[in-house]
Amino acid sequence: MKIELHTVEKYYNRGAHNQVHALRGIDLLIDASETVCIHGPSGSGKSTLLAILGGIIGPTCGSAVIGGKKMARLPDRFLTLYRRQHIGFIFQRFRLIPELSVLENVTLPLLPLGIRPADRKKRGRELLQRLEIDHRKDFPAAEISGGELQRAAVARALINDPSVIIADEPTAHLDTRLSEDFLTIMTDLKRLGKTIIIASHDPLVSASPVVDRCLYLRDGLLCAAS
């Protein structure tokens, strides 16, 4: 899905003493079939940018046009519907619910879509098999390893068959072998025609052949591609 940002500004706590100007006039165009890597130092606004692209937060000003629809100024409801249907988000700290089993975590996005239990289970298991962590499906998320957590987070992001996949520092907690596994999964998804946006300062990611384009973010400003 094609994504455009026009002069997007993001302030946190605007007007308060702890105001943060996290994004400063971002103009960005991402093609539907593109895989983009955003890198930059910690605190530069990568997560904020991804959250706006993923419809988790709205920009303070400027506009986001996603799939031809203007997202800015839309009420929360529409952002939620957009997330529900089109976005697969892999969060920086994975954010699985620790007491839920892996399978329950993975199928969580299907609940508000009204998918029946049997279908949910079937789809969840297929995905877990594809990602080779089927053997952990009944384990509570609190009891699996970092690599397994990440696969579960990927599975959860893919369960609603999204057109846009967003990953925030996906390899930060992984060793080289697991990082390469992750990139293999992304390569497969790219082949399926998904839009992929990854924030990472891991050179393994930015140098990977799966990435079409690298953007550099610094103090909320997008610098020329490197």
């Binding site: 619910i97 879509l113 009204g114 998918i115």
Partner: protein
């Protein structure tokens, strides 16, 4: 690809149920406390209804007017000849002489209330009290027939035996044969009761052949009761005339005050519980806040999260309601409402053991439901509103 509205709601309910099971340890504490509160309220209400039911059955058998002879401020024997003196009063349907008194059973230190009826053999007259008649026996010529309360039967240790004896004032023995037992439903006042023929009672209390203790007057038109009571008072010197309305009023005042007091105490307990529920629901733990943020980031609407809280609260309160209400029935059915009986009846009445029969009242059920489950839902779902509006950005 999106399923129906119903499917979405079912999925949320499903998630609520699995969450309830996941947190069974913590939830069962809440369910237990809540069930206890409902148990108390329901027990109280069931006991009250059951007592009221017993009482109203009894009060229908209260005579319109009771006439008693007073002498120096104490009740004295009345002569049956008063019937003739009152005969001319227009509006009196019937008059019935009665002998009643307390019989002290020295063997086990119990007091029985003995009532002698002129028409004792006429089953229909006293059927209002609910008597289980035993099959007729070939009557022993010496034994007087009597109907016993359940407590009396137990005290006399009759078992399957039908005959027993009591002592007259001169310590000679009078033999009786049981022809029936009062039903458990009326045991509130029939537990210590022995009903027998008028002459048997005269003999037992050593009264003269013309003596009675009171005269029961039945009035044709209930509106005339007071007028007729006044006329009786004018015609007979030194009598006390008691109308049924006064007996009922005395009873209602005592009972109403007690149940009102009990209800006020319970209300305090219930209110305390809802404050506790509100407090718990409004202060989410960081883990719970995180869960809400994750659900919202994954595409749950604010109202989906509220629906989730609604289902969670409904599961807890419905379970507690069922447990509490069931417990209350057991309490009344098997333990005769032991917890609230003293409060409602006063300690003194405890002595004769009475057995209460639960009376199902849909209105009561609905009242308890709407006073427990509904406030609980309100006390937990309203504060959940605020937690459901947590923004999903804390997950990034």
């Amino acid at each position: 690809m999106a399923g129906s509205y119903l499917d979405r709601q079912l999925n949320i309910a499903d998630y609520a149920l699995s969450g309830f099971i996941r947190r069974l340890g913590r939830n069962s504490v809440v369910v237990f406390i809540f069930a206890l509160v409902i148990f108390m309220v329901a027990s109280f209400s069931l006991t009250t209804t059951s007592l009221k039911h017993s009482a109203s059955r009894l009060l229908t058998t209260v005579p319109d007017i009771t006439v008693q002879q007073m002498s120096a401020g104490r009740q004295a024997a009345l002569s049956v000849t008063v019937i003739e003196k009152l005969d001319g009063i227009f509006g009196i349907r019937s008059m019935e002489p009665r002998v009643w008194g307390y019989y002290f059973d020295e063997n086990n230190g119990a007091n029985y209330t003995v009532i002698g009826h002129a028409n004792f053999s006429d089953k229909a007259r006293i059927a209002g009290l609910g008597i289980d008649f035993l099959p007729a026996l070939k009557l022993d010529a010496d034994a007087d027939p009597a109907v016993l309360g359940r407590g009396v039967r137990e005290n006399l240790e009759l078992g399957e035996r039908r005959t027993f004896s009591l002592f007259r004032p001169d310590l000679s023995v009078q033999s009786f044969i049981t022809v029936g037992t009062f039903s458990a439903e009326t045991s509130m006042v029939t537990d210590d009761l022995i009903i027998m023929d008028l002459d048997s009672a005269r003999e037992l209390f050593g009264l003269g052949p013309d003596d009675i203790t009171d005269l029961l007057v039945d009035v044709a038109n209930p509106l005339e009761i007071d007028t007729i009571a006044d006329k009786i008072g004018e015609r007979l010197a030194g009598v006390r005339v008691v109308t049924s309305e006064r007996i009922k009023k005395t009873y209602r005042v005592a009972f109403g005050w007690r149940s009102g007091f009990g209800l006020a105490c319970l209300f305090g307990a219930v209110a305390a519980f809802f404050i506790f529920a509100w407090d718990k629901a409004s202060g989410l733990t960081p883990a719970q806040q995180q869960e809400v943020a994750i659900l919202k980031a994954l595409g749950w609407h604010t109202e989906d999260v509220i629906t989730l809280r609604f289902w969670e609260s409904l599961i807890i309160s419905a379970l507690a309601f069922c447990l509490g209400y069931l417990g209350a029935w057991m309490h009344l059915l098997f333990f005769d409402g032991i917890l609230f009986r003293p409060l409602l009846l006063g300690w003194s009445v405890l002595k004769p053991p009475l057995s209460l029969v639960p009376v199902f009242s849909f209105a009561d059920l609905l009242l308890i439901f709407s006073l427990s489950v509904l406030p609980y839902l309100a006390a937990t779902v309203i504060p959940a509103w605020q937690s459901a509006t947590i923004r999903p950005d804390s997950v990034i």
